[in-house]
Symmetry: C2
Subunit: 125 residues, 2 copies
DNA sequence: TCAAGTGTACTATAACAGATAGTACACTAT
DNA sequence: ATAGTGTACTATCTGTTATAGTACACTTGA
């Protein structure tokens, strides 16, 4: 369910956060679903439980999941809505990169083509 | 000429690297231009000379600039070509983010609009 | 010639974030 | 009761980044 990159610059706990959010955004995880326990996931990923606790605490702080001590940790009702709001930040990332490509002389159509591919559409021509 | 963010995750020396490349990609720095000396730039930015040396060494390793000991450090002839090749990586970044936005239900047109803005074009409608 | 400015090399240290190890306790379902 | 949850805490290890300080070689130009 989760895939960890131990060599990149992004810390493990942030990878857990963003991957969880992505699973919710894409509908794989829905409201009421139980998240893997810190102990189980720590074994599966060979990661320290504290690291996962850190990730889950942050997700909880954001209102994306809630803990039921002794029971488990579950996706909230508002999770999808909250995660959805993050798209504005990602759009600004795209804008920033596009500005650099523009400055470097990469044609407009070349960038749009990339979006087409991501959205699984065919290019005309 | 350079702008340093001391709080982000990206180390200073990498900021110098990418900003130098951006200046070359956008044509501000051209073949034969002299780069600021490690000492001068270290004063201007309040950064340790070693940090800048590290950045410049990497730029040199990439063939983007060359050092003339006792004289200075200059942009190479191939710099623009080498830097230009980096656009493929940035396009794949855009593609990756777009795939997430697609999964999250953000409409295609919304992403393309962002590219329009970056390229300084007006949206039809 | 010599001073000033360039690049280069090296060691040592400080500072910080990330991750781990280990332990302990409270809660809940069965 | 037992096993599985979450939670809290301290201590430690590690790697990266950045700094400090010093020394040396080279080139330019007054």
């Amino acid at each position: 369910m989760f895939q960890i990159d131990r060599f990149g610059r992004v810390p493990i706990y942030e990878q857990i956060i963003s991957q969880t959010q992505r699973l919710i955004a894409s509908g794989v995880l829905k409201e009421g679903d139980q998240l893997p326990s810190v102990r189980a996931l720590s074994q599966e990923l060979s990661v320290n439980p504290n690291t996962l606790q850190k990730a889950y605490s942050e997700l909880e702080r954001r209102g994306i999941c809630v803990s039921a001590p002794g029971n488990g940790r579950f996706v909230t009702v508002e999770a999808a809505r909250i995660v959805g709001k993050g798209f504005l930040e990602r759009l600004s990332e795209i804008q920033q990169i596009s500005e650099e490509l523009y400055a470097a002389g990469v044609p407009f159509e070349r960038v749009v083509q990339t979006i087409h591919i991501a959205y699984g559409k065919e290019m005309k021509g």
